[in-house]
């Protein structure tokens, strides 16, 4: 196991690369997903409000 993490002595280079890429990609995906959901809900809420006030 520790051999796997040591990566033949290059763990200090390989793991930060994978870690940083993971953080960047997860953060971007999370941000994009949350933004999309928040705005879609907001649009639906406003549409419902508009219908209500027209009745």
């Amino acid at each position: 196991m520790s051999e796997f993490f040591a990566m033949g002595g290059y763990g200090a280079y390989i793991w930060p690369c994978y870690g940083l890429t993971l953080i960047g990609m997860v953060a971007l995906a999370g941000w994009s997903f949350a933004k999309q959901r928040r705005l879609t809900r907001e649009a639906e809420r406003l549409k419902a409000l508009g219908k209500e006030s027209r009745q």
Partner: protein, 247 residues
């Protein structure tokens, strides 16, 4: 009506595709990561550091594809005024910039054990650096112009010129590199890659591409919804104004 119909149809299509895309992305990484980190053999020259390739090369690929997509979307927006194209361009820029940044960082970290220094003015890294500046310029221009419609069009003009320039930049950097490069540098890619390394690379390329499409679709959805929210808010304010003047 045409204006609304297209994005609405797009969103319903995206909604149908997205669960599958997200699942496929997760699955591809679930297969690709163990392959890249564990099951693939170390390189006979570079040892374990070759594993950085499995994220560096897909990042570089998406960084380039992202700018290509940005340029094509800009052209579609400028020529045919297709409303989705501008939203696609907005969605693409930060994603492309992220992958360009990741390419630079993973390239630098990879350079330390292979070349003994963090940064080498190698042709590919240098081209990526210029590409990074192109993305930054696009986003800066878009940010600086207040009117969103004009910002989109001005940025589209810039990205089109950038797209024309991209192969010239690549060519000039390669030319410059052969002029200055010390011959002793270890090349990172052999002419023919062993299948034991090509397979995980292709799986990771697929995984990154699936991720890219998924995130882009989310971002386009967000941009469509933002436009709708904006329109609905304005309509409400307008209605309230009319009610007040009528009373």
């Amino acid at each position: 009506m045409h204006y609304l119909a297209n994005p609405a149809r797009f969103v319903s299509l995206a909604d149908r595709l997205l669960p599958w895309l997200a699942a496929a992305t997760a699955l591809a990484f679930l297969v690709g990561l163990p392959y890249a980190l564990l099951f693939s053999p170390p390189d006979y020259q570079q040892g374990e550091t070759v594993r950085i390739m499995y994220i560096h090369v897909p990042s570089a690929y998406l960084a380039t594809m992202g700018y290509l997509g940005l340029g094509i979307a800009s052209a579609v927006w400028l020529i045919w005024r297709h409303p989705l194209a501008d939203l696609a361009a907005v969605a693409l820029a930060p994603v492309g910039a992220l992958f360009t940044g990741l390419t630079l960082v993973t390239g630098a970290v990879w350079g330390k054990p292979t070349w003994g220094t963090w940064w080498v003015w190698d042709a590919r890294l240098t081209s990526m650096l210029v590409l990074f500046f192109l993305y930054l310029g696009y986003m800066a221009l878009r940010e600086a112009i207040e009117d969103p419609d004009k910002a989109g069009k001005a940025a589209a003009i810039l990205s089109l010129v950038g797209l024309i320039n991209l192969p010239i930049i690549k060519f000039s950097v390669d030319w410059w590199n052969t002029l200055h490069q010390p011959a002793s540098l270890l090349r990172r890619d052999g002419p023919a890659m062993d299948p034991s390394m090509l397979t995980p690379l292709l799986i990771m390329l697929g995984a990154f591409s699936l991720y890219f499409v998924t995130v882009i679709l989310w971002r386009i959805k967000a941009a469509v919804a933002a436009k709708r929210v904006d329109g609905l808010r304005r309509a409400r304010a307008h209605a309230a104004q009319r009610a007040r003047t009528a009373a």
